[in-house]
């Protein structure tokens, strides 16, 4: 099982849209895939029209295995399941800090999923907390969407430094430009300058109203409008991610 975290310290950068579309693309090749919505706002759960059952909460998530498996729900798309988010996830950090080995807890709790899924996606909340660290340790790849601005680049470098300072493997980080607007010169310049950075992927995701409309269609763009330029960009991005992981 390969674990991919969609992570950004900032909100509104296209993180959930990427998690939803990439997980859909992963499952489309008949590979069992699970998307784990860790964000208490539950945006990816919303996109898949799934709400957590009343009994689901952050405590269950931290208890691990059998408790987690029971909460998994099938999406409307073959081979793609979702572990829905719950508002109680906002307490995850407090609960993690009370456990003995918080940073390794998540990795250990997910072991049972190995047999069922080829890909596991984390849609992470936008912050840098104990939970984020736990996700970093549990993931094979940390995908970071970046809007091409100087501030984003700065935050991205900070993330790489954070990895180095905390004994995490920074080679697991892969950034990609998201919500790119070609007509903005700053976007163009930044993409040009950083696209060949070793921690960056080549493929960019354009800014698109089609992606915004996912909130109305409540389905992956690649399922409803696969021909749109944004959907095509997600397809290419997934190809690149897959190749990177297969290396």
């Amino acid at each position: 099982m390969k674990t991919i975290a969609l992570y950004s310290i900032k909100g509104g950068v296209g993180k959930t849209a990427a998690a939803v579309n990439l997980s859909f693309l992963a499952a489309a090749a008949a590979t069992p895939t699970l998307i784990c919505d860790l964000d208490p706002q539950g945006a990816s759960s919303f996109y898949f029209r799934i709400t957590a059952s009343r009994k689901h909460n952050s405590e269950k998530l931290l208890k691990g295995n059998s408790k987690i498996l029971k909460q998994i729900k099938a999406t409307d798309f073959p081979h793609l399941d979702l572990l829905p988010s719950d508002l109680s996830y906002r307490n995850l950090d407090i609960e993690l800090s009370e456990s003995k080995k918080p940073k390794k807890l998540l990795a250990r709790n997910l072991e049972g999923l190995e047999a069922e899924y080829r890909y596991l996606f984390f849609d992470c909340p936008p912050n840098l907390t104990l939970l984020s660290e736990s996700v970093f340790r549990a993931s094979d790849l940390i995908l970071v969407p970046l809007i091409p601005t100087t501030l984003s680049i700065r935050t991205f470098t900070q993330l790489i430094d954070f990895f180095a300072d905390n004994g995490l493997d920074s080679a697991k980080i892969a950034g990609f430009f998201s919500m790119e607007e070609k007509k903005k010169s700053m976007h163009r310049e930044i993409v040009e300058e950083y696209q060949s950075h070793p921690a960056m992927l080549k493929q960019t995701i354009p800014y698109s109203s089609d992606v915004e409309k996912m909130g109305l269609t409540r389905a992956p763009l690649n399922a409803t409008h696969p021909k749109t330029s944004a959907a095509q960009a997600y397809s290419k991005l997934w190809e690149e991610v897959r190749e990177k992981m297969d290396k």
Binding site: F48, R49, I50, T51, S53, Q71, I72, K73, A74, D76, D81, R218
Partner: protein, 524 residues
């Protein structure tokens, strides 16, 4: 049609539009979505003896995948890609997989035959909740035979499959369904499988070459021998098609055993019929047996390919290729000849006459057929004693050198005794028969292995002598030489064990076992 563990199948009687009933019973805000239809072809495979079915498995090809399904719960046990729909295939020819292993376990010798193909039409609806999220699928399916040759009527089903994680939401809805009374009922995978087999008229054939006859010990032996011959001739007929189509080697094998069994019993119980009225049948059966010898030999050696290859060092393994390709060519030739014989005038004529003869239920003249009217139990006891005595006398007479001929003949004696025991098995207490057969097994195995190895050596020797010197046959000669040496060593080991095994058989224990078996009989 393998089931996800949560699918609920409902068999429909009549035209009950269950989809409406489901629609009306949904919770507030839920609805049945638009329907979509699909057609799929299901091809069911099993061996001639239905070994998969007997092991509780269904073997089915659908959309390029061959699935092995547990009949008890409909769960998929294993699957493997199968691009085409072959009329038959061997488990060994499948790609390395769990499915291959499962099917090899059912049968390594028999081919899996395309038993029936059905086209299934499925209409499916999504059941959507208030968020328009699919929580389950509802499907209606109807089937018919793919070749449309039959008017077979297949049952129709509705099925409801909740999506993962949506069981609770659905259970309320299912509880609200109308009472099943007669309109529909829940059905299992096994039931659905059997319904298909029944509709395709495939069940109840229950072919087995094993003899399981219930004999009445007081009935005249004439009647029971006729019943045996009816069975053996039906086995011969049942296997003709498989031989003609060359599906697997067991068709010919069963055919040959039936021929041998018929002839052996007729000869061992030679007072049952008037000799002049059976002479033609005995000759005919012997001829028939002979005609199959070469074809059977080719089959046997081709089946040994892996075994022979494994006996040789790697460097010599490919040297046997010409040997096997010649065998294949010879097999094709023998097969052609035998098929021509089966289709010709002689064989059908012989079988027809044989069946007419078997059908004559009038007791023959007691002077020329003194046994005919005797009770089966008595005849059985005498014949078995006689056959056992023969085995013991010949076995004891076998000298220290244990010559090939002695062992060959003793093997035939044993086989005769075994045919008698199998024929009369129902007259004895089942436990006693099983014990006697077990007692005989070691001896039969030893003799069988000996003769088998001798025949192989003879065959290889003749091949060696016929090898053309100019064909670059040195490699093949070396390989055959290697095989001969190995087989020779094995055979001599078997030979060396004979006396030890025979003296274990020629014991008070065997005597007592047979006494126990036969005393009960004579008293019956």
């Amino acid at each position: 049609m393998s089931d996800t563990p949560d699918t609920l199948y409902l068999r429909i009687n009549g035209e009950e539009p269950l989809v409406q009933a489901v629609g009306q019973n949904l919770p507030a805000g839920w609805r049945v979505g638009k329907s979509s239809t699909r057609r799929e072809r299901l091809v069911f495979y099993d061996t001639f003896e239905e070994e998969a079915f007997r092991k509780g498995l269904a073997v089915m090809r659908r959309k390029g995948v061959l699935s092995v399904i547990d009949l008890d719960n409909g769960a998929l046990e294993a699957d493997t890609p199968l691009a085409l729909t072959p009329p038959s295939f061997f488990a060994a020819d499948l790609p390395e997989s769990k499915a291959r292993k499962r099917l090899l376990h059912c049968s390594s010798l028999r081919a899996f035959i395309n038993r029936c193909a059905i086209d299934r039409f499925v209409t499916s609806w999504r059941i959507l909740d208030q968020e328009d999220k699919t929580v389950a699928t509802l499907e209606y399916e109807s089937s018919h035979k793919s070749d449309k040759s039959s008017e077979a009527v297949f049952p129709r089903y509705y099925s409801i499959t909740p999506l993962k994680g949506f069981h609770k939401e659905l259970s309320t809805m299912l509880m609200a369904l109308p009472e099943p009374v007669d309109a529909y009922r829940v059905t299992s995978f096994r039931e659905r499988f059997i319904a298909i087999m029944e509709a395709a008229a495939l069940l109840g054939r229950g072919y087995t070459s094993k003899l399981h006859m219930q004999l009445d010990p007081r009935a005249p032996i004439h009647e029971n021998v006729r019943r045996l011959l009816q069975f053996t001739s039906s086995i011969m007929e049942a296997n003709e098609e498989g031989i003609r189509k060359d599906i697997d080697s067991e068709f010919l094998h069963d055919f040959r055993v039936a021929v041998r069994r018929s002839r052996s019993i007729m000869r061992l119980l030679n007072g049952v019929f008037e000799p002049e009225k059976t002479a033609w049948a005995l000759t005919g059966l012997r001829e028939l047996g002979k005609r199959t010898n070469e074809l059977r030999d080719s089959d046997v050696y081709l089946l040994r390919r892996d075994e022979y290859t494994a006996l040789l060092p790697t460097a010599l393994q490919t040297a046997l290729d010409p040997f096997f390709s010649d065998l294949e060519a010879e097999k094709r030739l023998h097969h052609k000849h035998f098929c021509r014989y089966l289709a010709g005038r002689e064989y059908p004529g012989f079988i027809a006459t044989l069946k007419e003869f078997i059908a004559l239920d009038e007791l023959p003249n007691p002077e020329s057929a003194p046994l005919a009217a005797q009770p089966t139990g008595e005849v059985a006891a005498k014949a078995i004693r006689k056959a056992l005595k023969k085995v013991l006398v010949h076995g004891r007479r076998t000298g220290n050198e244990t010559s090939d001929t002695e062992l060959h003949e003793l093997r035939i004696d044993c086989k005769k005794l075994r045919y008698l025991l199998e024929f009369f098995a129902s007259l004895f207490p089942p436990k006693a028969t099983a014990q006697v057969l077990r007692q005989m097994k070691a001896l039969q195995d030893n003799l069988g292995a000996f003769v088998d190895l001798s025949v192989q050596m003879e065959f290889l020797q003749s091949r060696l002598e016929a090898l053309p010197a100019d064909r670059g046959g040195i490699g093949e000669a070396a390989a055959i030489g290697g095989l001969l040496a190995t087989l020779y060593r094995k055979r001599e080991k078997v030979r060396a064990h004979f006396h030890e095994i025979f003296s274990r058989f020629d014991s008070d224990e065997t005597g007592e076992l047979f006494d126990e078996l036969l005393t009960g009989l004579a008293e019956a």
